[in-house]
Symmetry: C2
Subunit: 357 residues, 2 copies
């Protein structure tokens, strides 16, 4: 960035880092507008040629003032570069906001689901409830609110959720199928996405979907539309119930992106219920993203940031766990850990447990 002097000392590096963090919310909104108003796309198309403010003005629905402050916010955010002739180009980072589906899914999720809610962090910490959810819904937690979330929050929520789970399922369904389970219990089945993937891939398996009744209704529709409901059963369940019990007789109990939604005490209660329900030879497959198992620092940052979504939007109790905590809870619940496999999909791990009895 020719117009900005390079930093001279370690302290000024720290100051730059701090100021990017402090002005992060403003720069974030600037980048959201640069993307949604098509500025990044125009610059992507022009590639190395770039474009001046005048050129862009003729092609966009923005005032001269609006385009000026957005372009300069883009410089400050590091997504744009400008040369001495006033020609703007996408920086390497800016390219990600047009080309990288993960960055885009994350951006939409933070912008539409988390941004306003995050301002309620303190109230959420004090109350133990996700006080930010009130920005989107009157429900008590996001899981009860999902089917009635306003747009664009609803679309961004599911796009974020599915972006990661779809990629994990692609790696996990063949692994599970290779074990040839006859009966699988999908705990926290949500919209039935995993059940669909497994039922479609494996003609012999039967899947029981367990979740809240309103989620099961959505999942049932999904399975029926795809002609996959013949080998599916539906088991209404409230995982927050103090007397939780899971149905028995399953070869595999499956919990994908589920336990992160709960506080440690609830995780322990759910894992104990799984341990009780497991027969001899039965296995519990815990699929989640653990920040201490990531290869990329960016992934760890993403996960630890997402924990504050659980605090302020989801239910005030969940978080993206580290695997050390999860393995300790599994042992405390009376499970024996058989294997841990990392780097499934985009950073998922799969912990396979048996009953310790």
């Amino acid at each position: 960035m020719g117009f900005l002097p390079s930093d001279e000392s370690e302290r000024s590096d720290a100051v730059l880092f701090a100021e990017r963090l402090v002005f992060g919310p403003l720069l974030f909104q600037g980048v959201v507008s640069l993307r949604r108003r098509g500025v990044l796309q125009k610059l992507l198309r022009r590639g190395g040629e770039g474009a001046t403010l005048e050129t862009l003005l003729g092609e966009l629905e923005l005032s001269r003032y609006g385009l000026t402050v957005l372009l300069e916010a883009g410089l400050a955010a590091g997504v744009l570069q400008v040369d001495d002739e006033g020609v703007y180009r996408l920086a390497r980072v800016g390219l990600l906001f047009e080309r990288d589906p993960m960055t885009i899914a994350n951006l939409d999720f933070v912008a539409d689901v988390c941004y306003r809610a995050a301002a309620h962090l303190d109230a959420s910490l004090d109350s133990g409830e996700a006080r930010g959810l009130r920005e989107l819904s009157d429900e008590e937690n996001v899981y009860q609110a999902l089917s009635t979330l306003p747009e664009p929050a609803k679309t961004s929520w599911f796009a974020f959720d599915h972006f990661y789970s779809d990629r994990a399922f692609k790696d996990l369904v063949p692994r599970l199928s290779a074990r040839a389970p006859k009966q699988v219990l999908d705990v926290g089945a949500n919209t039935g996405r995993f059940a669909c993937a497994l039922l479609a891939a494996d003609e012999r398996v039967r899947v029981t979907l367990a979740d809240l009744p309103n989620q099961l209704a959505v999942a049932r529709r999904e399975l029926e539309e795809r002609g996959l409901s013949a080998r599916a059963h539906f088991h209404p369940i409230d995982l927050l119930s103090p007397e939780l019990s899971l149905p028995e007789g399953f070869d595999v109990i499956w919990m994908s992106q589920l336990l992160c939604c709960f506080g440690e005490e609830d995780v322990l209660r759910i894992l104990r219920a799984a341990a009780r329900a497991l027969g001899p030879g039965g296995e519990l497959w815990i699929v989640d993203t653990f920040w201490d198992r990531q290869k990329q620092r960016a992934a760890a940052v993403t996960l630890m940031g997402t924990s504050l979504y659980f605090t302020t939007v989801a239910n005030g109790r969940g978080r993206m766990y580290d695997s050390a905590t999860m393995l300790r809870l599994a042992q405390e619940a009376g499970l024996s850990v058989k294997s841990v496999e990392d780097s499934l999909g985009l950073g998922h791990s799969c912990i396979v447990c048996g009953s310790a009895r």
Copy 2:
């Protein structure tokens, strides 16, 4: 940060940078809570010794869950470090959030004045009005709202404003005084902070404060309390009036942190009024922060981020200008630029103009 792998490629650097930007709003709120709930202070006191989660839990009003997600957000934000024994310490960046008054003034300003308002960026760009101000006030612009802003927004606004202007005035008052002006017109006098500094430093000078009537009332009280009102006059003025004229007969017309509050057309109109009001030998002193005149990249980032405060909170038209734009407008207004001095206070510049007639 031992627990996080270092990045291997340029692409992963870009991804890390992008994810910090995307999760910036969540990490920002995490850092605000870490500071306001005393976690950073506890860790600062313990220095190299650091503290575990258990130790901190005993000293803070936070649940185990709350402290866990905050500490992990601090790791993700880069303000904390943790070692293999689970001992947390302040990172170099974290130190700034306890020790550096600039970082703290900026943090409070963004948290209390800008955060919620920034979510209204698109509406502000479309309407040409600061739609985010509605989060704080029913007034049309922040200048009319200042005296009635709710807390903590009011305190944080003035702390931010005064932090920069106080340091600039310290460098500028002696320079202005050395020129021995008899009559100074302080345009946009706000709370009278500059007038007080000049009147206290220079026993011969007389200052006329020009601003909106409600601001003048505040300024008058300030001057009276300090016993500085004898050589002060008060001139009510609406700088947005289409028929703006400034009173004549002043040796120096002073505009400090003023022109950034206006759009280019208004800046031109105000500068033309100044050019008309300047007598032979009279000077216009324009004091502002220009992002293209900063030595530190951090300062440029701060200023370009602050432009979005003008868009969403202040009035939907102002911005932190680059000096090239300001010099062009001065010439267009019929002024001749006599000198430009940079690096006054924390990155202010002073443009001294005479009438070109």
